[in-house]
C-alpha cells in the first residue's frame, strides 16, 4: 500500500475528482484552499491580492499496482497546461489500523 499526495490548482478540481472516480479509488482525504509554491518554476498559490490563486490537496492510499496508473493520469493532466499545475508525491505505508 502506498500513499499518493496530489496538490493541484483549484481550477483542476473537477478533473481530479473525475480521475479518482474513473480509477475506482474510493478512499481519500481532501483539503480545500491550501497554499503553496513550487520549488523551481511553480507559481505561488497564496490566495492574496498578488497571488490570487489557491491549491487543493488530496491524499489517497492505494494498492501498489494502482500507483503507476494514477501517476500516469496525473502526468497527462499536467500536460494539458503546465501553468495551471498539478503535482503528486508517493509515500510508503508501513502500518494501518
Amino acid at each position: 500500500m502506498k500513499a499518493v499526495f496530489i496538490v493541484f490548482n483549484q481550477a483542476n478540481t473537477e478533473r481530479v475528482e473525475y480521475m479518482l472516480d474513473r480509477l475506482e479509488i474510493r478512499g481519500f482525504t481532501w483539503w480545500e484552499n491550501v497554499k503553496g509554491r513550487g520549488s523551481e518554476t511553480g507559481e505561488p498559490r497564496m490566495g492574496t491580492h498578488t497571488w490570487p490563486e489557491m491549491n487543493s490537496a488530496v491524499v489517497t492510499i492505494v494498492s501498489d499496482e494502482k500507483v503507476q496508473v494514477l501517476l500516469e493520469k496525473i502526468k497527462k493532466l499536467d500536460e494539458v497546461n503546465k501553468e495551471v499545475g498539478v503535482k503528486a508525491f508517493v509515500w510508503e505505508i508501513s502500518q494501518m489500523v
Binding site: Q10, A11, N12, E14, H49, P52, V84
Partner: protein, 1040 residues
Amino acid sequence: MSIYKSAVNKPITTLMIFAAIIVVGIYSLMQIPIDLYPEMNPPYISVMTTYPGANASDIETNITKTIEDALNTVDNLKEITSVSSDNLSIVNLEFEWEANLDEASNDIRDAVDRIFDYLPEGCDRPFIFKFNTSMMPIVFYAITADESYPGLAKIIEEKIINPLNRINGIGSISMIGAPKRMIYVDVDPQRLDAYNLTIEQIGNVITAENLNMPSGNVKMGKMDYQLRIEGELSESREISDIVVGNYGGNPVYIHDIAQVQDSIKDLSLDEKINGQSGIRMFVMKQSGANTVKIAKQVHKKLAVLEKDLPPDIKIQQILDTSTFIKDSVSNLSETLMWALIFVVLVVLFFLGRWRATFIIVLTIPISLIVAFIYLFITDSSVNVISLTSLSIAIGMVVDDAIVVLENITKHIERGSSPREAAIYATNEVWLSVIVTTLVIVAVFMPLTLVSGMTGVLFKELGWIVTITVVTSTMAAISLTPMLASKLLRLKAKTENRKKFSYENTIEKILNKLDAFYEKTIRWALHCKRYVMIIALVLFISSLFLFKYVGTDFMPESDESRIMASVELQTGLRVEETMKVTRQLEQIIHDRYPEVTILSASSGSDDEGGIFSLFSQTGSNMINLMMRLTSIEERDRSVWDIANDLRKQMDQFAEIINYNVTTSSSGMGGTSNTVDIEIFGYDFDITNKLAAEVKGKIEKIEGAQDVQISRKADKPELQIVLDKGKLAENGLNSAMVSANIRNRVDGLTASRFREEGDEYDIVVRFKEEFRNSISDLEQITIMTPTGQQIKLKELGEVKEYWGPPNIERKRKERVVTVSVKPVGVSLGELAKKINTELESIDFPQEVVVNVGGAYEDQVESFMDLGLLLIISLVLVFLVMASQFESFAMPFIIMFSIPFAFTGVILALFFTNTTLSVIAALGAVLLVGIVVKNGIVLVDYINLMRDRGYDLNEAIALSGKSRLRPVLMTAMTTILGMLPLAMSTGEGSELWSPMGITVIGGLVFSTLVTLVIVPVVYAIFSRKGERDKKQALRKRFVFMDR
C-alpha cells in the same frame, strides 16, 4: 457560499432572478410618465392682499410692511420680496428648497391671523398662494372667428371646455380675451338732472323690476298651489320700457333718459391671432399628471369637438409644451441608442469575440432597467435628467463585466473548464471590481446631497448613476460568470487563419500599440524630470486658457418660440396700443417667415385671473407670442430672430421698453439675467441711480434688454374734496366717491338671465359725458336733502403722478435693473457690470447688489466646488483603504488636474461656456479618471510584489493594462459622444456635459498612461524601491 459560486452552480435560478428584474423594469417603464424635468415644487409662497382704493404707497406702509414684519420669522425662509401696487400688495416668500411648504403655509396662515386685526378696516383677508409648476399651462390654443365672434365665449365654454374638462388629469381650462356680453344703460346726465333723478335710483328700479319672488302657498279645494311673481326680464330690450319716475304727472321711461345696449364689454384687451380676432385658451394639468399623455388626449378630443363648431371658428395650437418634451425625450432616447451601438462596437473591437461581447453587453439593459424601477418607486418620470443619467452610465456599466470576463477568458485559455474558470476567475477579481465601483459611487452619491435648485436636478442623476453602476457590479459578479460558464468555449488554435480574420487585422494593430506603449513608458521612466516639467507646463498653460472660457448658469435652449412684451407710454389707451400692435404684426409677418403662429394681445384683461400673474398687463402693454417652425426647417435660430426683432423695435418711437424672451424659464422661474439691485428708500435718488446704471450698462457690448423694474410714474387724476363743503351739504368722502364710481365706472344694477347664463346690467354715464376733467367736474351729486350739487363745488380734479408699484426685498425698497446677456457669457457680463458700477458714486444710504441668475450661478458653482471637494475626499478614502497606503491615492489623483486641463481645452475649442451642467461634468470626471489610474497602479503593485524590478514592473503592467484602460475609457467616451454631438431639441442643455467629459477623459487618459507610471516611479524611490533591504532589517536575528 459566495454569490458568484451560487450563480454558476444554479444558472437557472440566476437567470430567473434577472428575468424577474427585467419584467418588473419593463412594467415600470410602461407606467412612468414622460416629462421635461423631475417634478420640483419651487419653494415660493405669495401672500396677496387687496385694499380697494389705496395707492401704492398707502399699500406699502399699511399692509406690505405689516405683513413682511409678521412673516419674517417663518422657519426656513430664504428671502422676502414684495410688490405694492394700486389696490394690491403681494408679498413673495422664497424658502429653502428642502423646506416643507405645507408646514410653511400653515406658519404663514398663523402669522397672518395674528396681524390681521392690525391691518386697515377695508382690506380683504390676505390670500395665500402656493406656486406650483403644474400650474403653468401646458397647451395654448388660438381660437379665431368671424361672424360668431360676439358669442364665442359661450360657444367655446359649452362645446369645447366642458367636454375637455372630463379628460382625466386636466387641472383647469381657461380662456383670455373672450368677448363678454354686457347690457349697458348709458345715461345722459343732462336729462337725468332735468328729471331730477340719479344713477342710483335707476339702478334700484332695475333691481326691483328684474325679480322672481316666491309668495307662499295657496290651498284651493284639494290642491296646494305655489304662488310666484315672475318679474324677471325675458329680453334685454324690456329694460328701455321700465318706468323710473314721474315728472309733471307723466311717467319717465328709461328710454327717455338713456340708451340701452346689449353688446360686448368695453374694449380693454384686444386679442389677434395671425391678425384675426380671437381668444386664447390654455389648458393646465393636475400636478403629477402626464403632460404628454394629456396633451395628446386634448388634441384628439379637440379634433372631434371642432366638427360641431360653426364653420367660421378656427382652432389653432399656439404652443404645446409637450412637443418640446416629446422631442427632447426622443432625441435623448436616440442618443442612448447610439451610445449602446458604440459601446457594443468598442467591446467587440477589443475582444474580437461575439459571445464575450454578448455577455458583456447584456449587463447594459439589465442595469438601465433597474433605473426605471427606481423612477417608478419614487414617482418620478422619464425626463431629460433621467435619460442623461442613463447616457452617462451606459459606458460605465460594462466596465465591471469586462474585467470579470477578461479574467475568465484567461483561465479558459489556460485549459480550465469554463465552469471552474468562471468561479475561480471571479474569485480573484470580485473585490477589486467592487472597489472601483465604490469610487464611482463616492463621486455620484454626494450629488444626492446637494441643496438648492441644482440639487433637485442632480439628485436624480446621482441616484440613477449610483443604482445602475451598483446593479452592473452585481450582474458582473453573478450573471457574467454564469453566462461565461455556459457560453464560452476554449478556442481551438487553428493554423490557417483567414487573411482578414480578427487575429490578422485588429489584433495585430493592438499588439503593435501595446509594444509602442511599452517603449514610451520605458523612455518616460528614463527622463522623468522632463516628463514632469512638460506636464506641469501643459497644466499651467491650460489654466491661462481658462480666462477665455466664459461662465453661464444654465445653457439656453432653442424652444422654437419667442415671447415679447412691449411697453408703450404709461396711461396710453388700448385703441392707441392696438395701432402699434398692428404695425409690429406687419413687421413680423414680413421679416420672419419662420413664424407660423403669432398671437398678439394688447391691453389688459381684468378677468385674466391667475394668468395675469405671469405676464405684465396694462392698457399700454403688448404681449406677443410666436411659434416658429422646427429647428431643422429653418436657418436662423430663435436668438437671431429675437435679436433682429429687438433692432426693429428700437426704431419705434412709441415703444418705451421691450423684453424679448426665447425660453419658457421653466426651471424654477429664473431667467438668465444679471440683476443689479439698488436698495434705498428715496424714490428720486434710486430712480436717478437706476437710470444712470441703465445708461452705463447699455453701452456694454452684449448687454441686451436692460430693464428697470420700477415702472415710470403713472398719471393719475385725483379728486381733492373740500371737507368743509362736504359737511355743509351733509355729505362725506365715502358717499361722494361711491357716487363718482357709479357714474364713471358704472353701477352693476342687476343680472339679466338667459338660458342659464347671467349677464351684468351696468348703469353709467354715456361715454362723452365722462372723458374730460371738465366733464368730471360737471358730475351732479345728490345731497341727502335732495339737492343737486356739482362736483366742482365740492372740490377740484387734479392731475398727479404716482409710482405704479413699489418693490421691496429683504424689507427694503429696491429697484432692479436686469440685463440679458446676448453673445457674451453671464459671468463675463457680471464682471463688466461690476467694473462699471465702481465708476458710479453711490450715496451712503443706498446699497447695491448684483444678483439674478448670476447670484444663482455663483451659488451653484459654490455647491459644485463643495461637491468636488467631498468627492475628492471620498475617493481618497476609498483608495487609501483599498491600497492600505497614503501614497498610492496621491499617485492616482495626479491625473485629476489633467482631466481639468482637458475640460478647459474642450470648452475652449468648442466655444462652450462653463455652465453648471458643464461643471457637473467636470466633477463626474473625478470618478471616471481615477478608475483608470486604479487599474494601472493596482497592477504595478502586483508586479512589484511578484518580485519584478521597479521599472520592469511598471513597463510590463503598462503593456498588460493598456487594453483594459483604453477599453473602459473608450466605452465612456463613445457613450457620451452622441450626447455631445446631438443638435436636436433640448440638446443645448446637455451637450456641454458630454463635451466636458469627453475632453477631460481623452486628455486625462492619454496623460494618465504616461504621468501615473512616472509619478509612481518617483514616489517609490524611498523605501518602496528596496523592499528586500527593509525586510532584512526586520529579521536581524538571522545575520547576527
